[in-house]
């Protein structure tokens, strides 16, 4: 028998707020988390802004793992996991730990650690690498940080499917729960602002200067961002048995890969991914009230994503907004933040806005990006998009709890 899956906890650690309440208030206010980068010295780069979690203080949240032994991305993951577990009022002493799993997505893993080690090699040779930093390097530790912080004995898996990785993680969590393999899964993603992503996206011509403006006619690219986004997913049975509050039900998901071009998105495959997700969730396009877009703010992504939406939904698609306009592109955490925003949209009855939006794009007049101001709405079903380089697409469907 297939188990129903519900969302019972939210753990955002973002540039616009830490914890579900702060993050929700920021989304509603359309707050921007963009500032001049301090994680590395951006002097010399033509563009110097990003979405950093300023004043991130993991020690204030973490109970079991030591910040000295874990890299920044793992600390984001573990802190987000701790917040999500607390938000779910999950009594870790009373659950079956062997049936509690952690699945975390990422793009660049411990990128800040990689850069620190690289600097040591460049300065003083291979012998100069710090053993402590080397121990923090493996990207697989992102999920382990969550497992160790919470004492979870189930699977501990990091998925490196880049910018759709959180949706992949949430999809895998859904499988573990729906098939009865697990009671609880902490799922989401984490990444850190780093020079390598900033430089790479700049060189690709995909980085904008100070304000990311998805679906705007004059959009000119992304801003790199960071953070940790983790959700507590549970079987309905498990949630009910412990008297937990369900924010939303996870209805299903879809994944596919076009495997054609390293960076150019493919409309047909993205549209097909939407159909797969709808089929898996048992949802008709007409039932979708809101699309939480991948919406990176590059000319190519937003056009192709919008065209795929129109292909699947017709000339009058539901509102499509991008929270990347507020927090930048948080890479492996991006679709996790999207999933959290989707759950908040359902729970609190509003659509998060696309800020920095000025001009309609005449190529996609059908798209309503919820410009600049949050909008009250009854949200029953949300489609949360996540697309990655290589054409690796993952879409999660969430609905109001029944």
């Amino acid at each position: 028998m297939t188990q129903r899956v519900v969302v019972t906890g939210l753990g955002p650690v973002s540039s616009i707020g830490t914890g579900a309440a702060d993050f929700a208030a920021a989304l509603r206010a359309g707050r921007s988390g963009i500032s001049r980068i301090t994680g590395f010295d951006p002097t010399g780069f033509p563009h110097q802004h990003g979405g950093e979690v300023c004043g991130f203080d993991p020690a204030a949240w973490l109970q079991r793992i030591s910040t000295a032994k874990w890299g920044r991305s793992s600390q984001f993951a573990a802190t987000a996991g701790r917040l999500a577990a607390e938000d779910a009022k999950l009594d870790l002493e009373r659950i079956d730990r062997s049936r509690a799993h952690a699945v975390i997505g990422t793009t660049s893993g411990e990128s800040v650690v990689v850069e620190a080690l690289t600097a040591q090699i460049v300065a003083d040779g291979f012998g100069a690498m710090s053993p402590d930093l080397l121990a923090q390097l493996p990207a697989g530790r992102l999920a382990h940080a969550v497992s160790e912080e919470l004492g979870l004995h189930g699977e501990s898996v990091t998925l490196a499917t880049a910018c759709s990785a959180s949706n992949y993680a949430i999809g895998y969590a859904y499988d573990l729960l729906a098939t009865g393999e697990a009671d609880v899964v902490l799922a989401g993603g984490a990444d850190s602002v780093c020079r390598w992503a900033h430089a790479g996206f700049y060189r690709l011509g995909a980085l904008t200067a100070t304000a990311c403006s998805p679906f705007d006619r004059d959009r000119s690219g992304i801003l790199t961002g960071e953070g940790g986004a983790v959700l507590v997913l549970e079987t309905l049975e498990h949630a009910t048995s412990r008297g937990a509050y369900a924010y939303a039900e996870m209805l299903g998901y879809g994944v596919n890969c076009d495997a054609t071009h390293p960076v150019a998105p493919d409309r047909a495959t993205i549209a097909e991914c939407m159909r797969i997700a709808h089929r898996n969730a048992g949802v008709d396009p007409s039932e979708v009230d809101y699309i939480c877009a991948h919406g990176t703010g590059t000319p190519a992504n937003d056009l192709v994503e919008a065209q795929a939406v129109i292909e699947v939904f017709g000339e009058r698609p539901p509102p499509v907004s991008s929270i990347k306009s507020m927090i930048g592109h948080t890479m492996g955490a991006a679709s996790g933040f999207g999933a959290i925003a989707s759950v908040i949209a359902i729970e609190q009855g509003f659509l998060p806005p696309t800020v920095n939006w000025v001009h309609p794009d005449p190529q996609i007049p059908q798209i309503d990006p919820v410009p600049n101001q949050a909008r009250p709405a009854t949200v029953r079903v949300v489609q949360n998009n996540g697309f990655a380089f290589g054409g690796n697409n993952a879409i999660v469907m969430l609905g109001s709890p029944r």
Partner: protein, 84 residues
């Protein structure tokens, strides 16, 4: 004259390396995309190497102009202020 010839051959080498062909296989007007299978990422790599080697800054908007060795040389010469 020698300056021109030297720079032109240097550019040929740089581009040939990115396109993974021997320098003598890269003709003056052979189209990077059609004849050497380059895509937009290769074009960006070519620009990145040119920027570094010749200390110029070719704007992203001029990428479409860089179709072959000759038009690329002209673009670099324009930005570097070379008087051939």
């Amino acid at each position: 004259m020698s300056g021109y010839h030297e720079r032109y051959e240097q550019l040929r080498e740089i581009i040939a390396e990115v396109l993974e062909v021997e320098p003598h296989e890269l003709t003056d007007t052979g189209d990077f995309a059609e004849e050497y299978d380059a895509d937009s990422l290769r074009a960006i790599e070519i620009v990145a190497r040119i920027d570094k080697q010749f200390k110029v800054e070719i704007p992203q908007s001029e990428l479409p102009e860089l179709r072959n060795l000759k038009t690329t040389y002209d673009a670099v010469a324009r930005h570097a202020g070379w008087q051939d």
